[in-house]
């Protein structure tokens, strides 16, 4: 039976291990977001070259989430929205990032590819899927823009640290054991296909 969890960041390994695919999660604490492919590429390049990343990823969460931070005249920064993107686009970079940074969750939508799932299993990391298209309500969880780096990118691509309160519901798409909700659902649907086709054939009116 699926459960609902309230977690705080930085994560504790035992809490992450407890998550099962299909569970719902609400998060409180600081997350790192960016929706930029070039940003992920740069993170990987920093890792490959042994350079220090400008933000601390350890026990944290990296999200393929677009965020627009507005800088007001008085110098304050306001997050106008956050919104998830399709995580499979980032497949070339995620396995390395998970392996090297100590993040314990990746956030986005739609799931991740096989290499990322393998890396998650090896490194005790989970995938948490946002509800796509629900930017208005999802954004209400943002409490503070903590840090913005790599400002040479467009706003949504910058590496941004946000403090959130009860962010969610997020769906556990991949657990630390490498179980993947989306692969399972697809296999289950394929298994049902013969029966569904049989039903379609049985109910189809005879051709004139």
């Amino acid at each position: 039976m699926s459960q609902t969890h309230e977690l705080t960041l930085p994560f504790k390994a035992e809490e992450i291990e407890r998550l099962e695919i299909g569970d719902l999660v609400f998060l409180t604490g600081e997350i790192i977001v960016t929706v930029g492919l070039p940003t992920h590429k740069r993170i990987k390049a920093f890792i490959d070259e042994g350079k220090n990343l400008p933000l601390d990823f350890d026990k944290g969460m990296l999200c393929q989430v677009g965020c627009y931070v507005e800088e007001r005249d008085d110098g304050t920064r306001v997050c106008r929205y956050i919104n998830p993107s399709t995580s499979t686009r980032f497949e070339p970079y995620l396995p390395t990032i998970i392996g090297a940074t100590g993040i314990m969750a990746v956030g986005g939508k739609g799931g991740v590819g096989p290499d990322t799932i393998k890396s998650m299993r090896e490194n005790g990391c989970v995938y948490l899927s946002f509800v796509g298209g629900a930017s208005a309500l999802t954004s209400e969880a943002v409490r503070e823009v903590v840090d913005v780096v790599w400002e040479d990118f467009i706003p949504q691509f910058r590496l941004t640290r946000l403090r959130v309160e009860k962010l969610g519901p997020l769906n556990v798409g991949v657990d630390v054991r490498g179980n993947c909700l989306y692969t399972n659902l697809q296999e289950q649907a394929r298994d049902k296909l013969d029966d569904l086709m049989e039903e379609l054939n049985q109910t189809r009116p005879a051709s004139p």
């Binding site: 699926s2 609902t4 299909g22 569970d23 719902l24 929706v35 677009g66 627009y68 507005e70 106008r80 929205y81 956050i82 919104n83 993107s85 399709t86 499979t88 686009r89 939508k109 739609g110 799931g111 899927s129 509800v131 796509g132 298209g133 629900a134 930017s135 208005a136 309500l137 999802t138 954004s139 209400e140 467009i154 706003p155 949504q156 519901p169 769906n171 798409g173 909700l181 989306y182 659902l185 697809q186 289950q188 649907a189 394929r190 049902k192 296909l193 569904l196 086709m197 039903e199 379609l200 054939n201 109910t203 189809r204 009116p205 051709s207």
Partner: protein, 288 residues
């Protein structure tokens, strides 16, 4: 006369509105789905979607900040009269919206040859044109498209397919997309005609208001049966698992020549769509 300025403003507004409000028929279908969903977490996800859409509409915020690219279906009345450039009004309307919309749009128009992203590009906005004989207005539908659901569309050419072949292809395409396209989705299918016609039929089919009957009895029946079958696949809202994978499936066809293209496309659950008419006397009628 329908002026360049009026088209420019209206085309920009239609795009703006489509980013902040889901269509009324889609709200109704989501509410129905939520009341019938048996998966506990799937029900929670549907409730979150419905609540978020309400907040976006009430507060004029983005439903989804990935605004896609602007796509219009325009029908021009044969009695409509114009003052100024019509095609340019659409591209200028988009340029003007980029300047005025708040918060700013993601820079998302991409050149597929160089991967450069900007607010401008060849053939942008994407507009398809049609004629309505006798009408004294221009009917404009805006239905933006982004990668999330756009990438799962598919087309295959069959030769004298049976109805079973067609339905099997639709089911295969649905299962391949899985839960990647932000379900529950609106599915459009185009059968026959030619390569380009089938794709256009599929896209236009997604624009037909939900709850309206297909005038072709064979397709009306196919829609009902496929709707049930697709919702038994079990993907559920956002791949949460559940009974609600599709909001609807609309199918259209054209006569053709034995080779039968079948095109399938998807709109994510926010089903972005707005529509208005602009008349010769300058009146604007916002339809949705």
């Amino acid at each position: 006369m329908i002026s360049y300025d009026a088209i420019k403003r209206l085309s920009g507004d239609l795009y703006d509105w489509s980013l902040k409000k889901i269509p009324e028929d889609t709200k109704v279908r989501l509410a129905e789905a939520e009341s019938m969903e048996t998966g506990a977490n799937a029900k929670k996800v549907l409730q979150f979607m419905i609540h978020s859409a309400r907040v976006a509409e009430e507060e004029g915020r983005f439903l989804c900040s990935d605004a896609g690219v602007p796509v219009y279906a325009v029908k021009v009345g044969s009695q409509a009269r114009f003052e100024g450039d019509v095609k340019r009004a659409f591209s200028d309307g988009f340029d003007e919206l980029v300047e005025r919309i708040d918060p700013p749009l993601l820079r998302f128009v991409q050149n597929p040859l160089t991967n450069e992203r900007s607010f401008k590009g060849k053939d942008m906005p994407i507009v398809s044109w049609d004629i309505i004989d006798g009408a004294d207005y221009m009917d404009i539908t805006c239905s933006p498209k982004a990668l999330g659901s756009g990438r799962w569309a598919a087309l295959e050419i069959f030769v004298y397919p049976s109805l079973e072949d067609i339905e099997k292809y639709i089911m295969d395409t649905v299962i391949k997309a899985g839960s990647q396209h932000c379900p529950p989705v609106m599915i459009g299918v185009g059968i026959g005609g030619s390569f380009d016609q089938a794709a256009k039929l599929a896209k236009m089919a997604t624009l037909r208001p939900m709850g309206t009957d297909n005038p072709e009895p064979i397709l009306a029946d196919m829609e009902k049966r496929l709707f049930k079958a697709i919702n038994k696949t079990g993907f559920g809202p956002m791949g949460q698992g559940g009974d609600t994978t599709a909001l609807g499936i609309h199918i259209d066809y054209s006569a053709g020549h034995g080779f039968t293209p079948v095109a399938v496309c998807f709109n994510c659950w926010i089903n972005r769509r707005t529509r208005a008419r602009i008349y010769n006397d300058g009146t604007i009628d916002r339809i949705e």
